[in-house]
Amino acid sequence: MYDTARKALSAALKAGADEAEVYLVKSEVTSIDIRKGLIEGSKENINQGMGIRAVVNGAVGFASTNIDTKMEEAARTAVSSARIRGRDPAWRSFPTDGKYPEIKDTFDPRIKDMELDECIELSTNMLEGASSLPDVLVTAGSFSRVASRRLILNSNGIEVEDRGTAISGFVDVITGQEEPTTAYEYDMSRKMDIDFFNLGKAASELASMSRQGISIEPHRTEIILHPFAVADLLTGIFSSAIDADNVQKGRSSLIGRKGEMIASEKLSIIDDGLLEGGLETAMADDEGVPSQTTPIIEKGVFKSYLYDNYTAGKEGISSTGNASRHSYSSPPSVGIRNFIIGYEKSNVIEDTDKGIYINTVIGAHTANYISGDFSVEARNAFTIEKGELARPIKSLMLAGNVFDILRNINGAGRDLRQVGGTVTPSLRIADMSVVG
């Protein structure tokens, strides 16, 4: 791996790059597919690929490949692309600081060495959990284990390798003949600590509880969002608003608002590349900048945008370690790491006299990412009466604004959960508009 990376690096320099960087990933994935209550098949994917950035005259070119024999051609293409771009006065250099923090619980040898047998067994546990309730059918589901290595090298001397593992399970269930209701449950972890039976069972319980839903009249009320709904609704829009690239380009409604009170004074949010066992935890970000912890909101006050090396350079500050790549085939851009939402915990359902509890939402990606306005379909929603989930609601539209929600959060549960990169409890929000 190092050999290949070094060869590509020198090919880029030889082709005339002032600076060059190589990003190389290898991963091994085993997955099990479930369909209609049965294990349908299994997959093994061996992935590897390389992305090369070359700088000529302060302009960056990019090329990528997964073909060993194309590596030098890709390096030359990156250099020629860089030449086509005019000089970018904002460019400073690739990262140079190579002192990396220690991280914990991101690699579990039991996941790396897991055999197919065990993958099937865990998938079966999940299915059995889902079938432990009557009249529930698992429509689709999956299990997967991943072991990956990522190597980043640049011509400024950066050389950092991260290894990681992850395991995940997902089930989608349906129940009821006449008026079917569905629900899903999902979990992902860096180590072997998922109870797959309970994962399956939770999906079935939720679907069963959601049967015979009632209709409700449009009104304004307190709502509680399950961590799934919080992650879907808040993370995407808010992370786009604090992305320094969007800020610098005038695409954020948080421009010039650092130091302002933008959220409930009990709310804090941090972006943490170092969280123990976090799904987004690594020694470095996706361009080799050491990971760090960045406060975003402290007691309601907006503290910081998130930067990669380039956007930080534009403002003459240091990267917050938020370079992120979708895959080896795309250059890095700003992205969140572990996005941790903190609020004083309480028995939030018990403390709510009247309101609506929402497990998941669909259509969050249709929101207006700049204004924060959204209108989504709430799924597996329940009325709350006197501190208890009372009746399932058949169909519910939830409309509002993400930035208003930040101000109107007035409670959080004890159910802290990792949903993708978001770590959040369920959150209660005052005065939301719902349409039945």
Partner: protein
């Protein structure tokens, strides 16, 4: 291969170039060379699948896939999977590109995109972006039955967007066109004019009023109706979802499920973005009528689902060299004969919903929610106030039955569909349609 009933091998070679211009500056030029393969093996009722990058060892990968299938089947035996037989596909009427994008220098492409950004930079526009992508793909397919076929395809396209801002309000406008086309796609679609219209759209929306929701009659434009056709009807007609119990259309073949005005077709042979000459199981592509005059006529099938439910294969697709699943191609609601004026007259008071910011459906429960780009109030048969933040939601079958007029101005839109985490090029379309009652959501 040891004890497998079936295997097939797909090898894909692709070169993709993309250019992103942001606020008039080159943000990204990237070129990606990929090669890899996906191998399926079937033993009894179990599938094994392996994929590998680069110039991989085909024999080894096939052995690994076979082993997965065999061991799954011995541990977890289930009903044998049958596959509808397919013959060797014929490559006919392939799209012919006029200008090979590889003959155009990157510099020239960058200049054109910069010009588009300039055209989108109207007064009041705070930021613009223009994106171009082209890909040359070669797909080679072979299977245990000796089928061996391949094709090459060039796809290209562009997207331009503009953001208007005023007093803390931001609104975006976007136009895009992707197709099985060469560089001529810019001229054929008046890319420069589209850039200006994206900007005008954003500027208009700044002054639009947030909509008030409610139950009302609506007209959907071609784009929003096309999204409804793809998301709500198309996905529900995918036979894998039907078989897993996730479709409202289960057991409905031959039944009247929509207004007799409705005919919905999926046609991969059309030279739109979802085109393919044969699918990812080597099955000849062919037109499928999903709904004919309101009656559910056919699901969309892979070889496996067609063997189980009847119907023709030809809709099995994958992204790159992933595991193929049942997918749409070019899906549209066919022309009727109403005019837009007739629809306005019919509606009297309601809303005209235009464009789409995406949406989602639950095909199992048959409910959906889509956000329109904008809408106009219809008052006494006249189009009046512009509204924004409007959504449409409801039950798929109710909407299909509530269609009272179908226009004669079918228009296709291109995009990518992400079912199962795999993005594949698709297009969808419709003429204007009029719906007697729908749930419109506002803020």
């Amino acid at each position: 291969m040891k004890n497998v009933d079936f295997y097939d091998v797909r090898v894909v070679d692709a070169t993709t170039t993309s250019i992103i211009i942001d606020n008039g500056n080159v943000e990204e030029i990237s070129v990606n060379y990929t090669r890899g393969g996906g191998i399926r093996a079937l033993c009894g009722g179990s599938w094994g699948f392996t994929s590998a990058d680069g110039y991989f060892n085909e024999k080894k990968a096939l052995n690994a896939a076979s082993e997965l299938a065999v061991s799954m089947n011995s541990r977890n035996p289930k009903e044998k999977v049958e596959l509808t037989p397919v013959g060797k596909p014929t490559l006919k009427d392939l799209p012919r590109i006029k200008i090979d994008p590889r003959d155009i220098s990157i510099e020239e492409k960058v200049e054109l995109l910069k010009e588009m950004s300039k055209r989108a930079k109207l007064e009041g526009i705070s930021s613009t972006s223009a994106v171009y992508s082209e890909s040359e793909v070669k797909v080679c397919y072979n299977n245990i039955d000796g089928l061996d076929c391949e094709y090459e395809l060039i796809r290209s396209g562009f997207a331009v967007s503009a953001v208007a801002s005023e007093n803390g309000i931001y609104q975006a406008g976007r136009e895009s066109k992707f197709g099985v086309k060469g560089y001529e796609i810019f001229d054929e679609n008046n890319a420069l004019e589209l850039a200006t219209s994206a900007a005008s759209e954003a500027l208009q929306l700044i002054h639009a009023k947030p909509a008030k929701g409610g139950n009302m009659p609506v007209i959907l434009d071609q784009e929003l109706a096309g999204v409804f056709v793809h998301e709500a009807v198309g996905h529900a007609s995918e036979a894998d979802l039907v078989l897993e119990g996730s479709s409202i259309l289960d057991n409905m073949i031959g039944k009247q499920i929509a207004s007799p005005l409705i005919t919905i077709v999926d046609d991969p042979t059309l030279h739109e973005y979802g085109y393919f000459p044969f699918d990812d199981e080597g099955a000849q592509s062919q037109r499928t009528t999903i709904i004919k005059d309101g009656v559910l006529n056919s699901y969309l099938h892979s070889r496996e689902t067609s063997a189980r439910l009847g119907g023709d294969p030809g809709h099995s697709r994958c992204q790159g060299y992933s595991m193929p699943i049942v997918r749409m191609s070019n899906t549209y609601l066919d022309n009727g004969n109403s005019t837009f004026e007739e629809m306005l007259e019919e509606i009297c008071d309601g809303m005209y919903l235009i464009g789409s910011r995406g949406g989602q459906v639950n095909t199992g429960e048959g409910i959906f929610q889509f956000n329109a780009e904008k809408a106009y109030l219809i008052e006494r048969g006249e189009i009046t106030t512009l509204m924004r933040d409007v959504s449409l939601s409801g039950k798929t079958l109710e909407i299909l039955n509530n269609v009272t007029h179908v226009g004669n101005d079918l228009k296709m839109n291109s995009g990518r569909c992400g079912k199962g985490g795999q993005l594949v090029p698709v297009s969808d379309g419709s003429p204007h349609i009029c719906i007697s009652k729908a749930v419109v959501g506002g803020t």
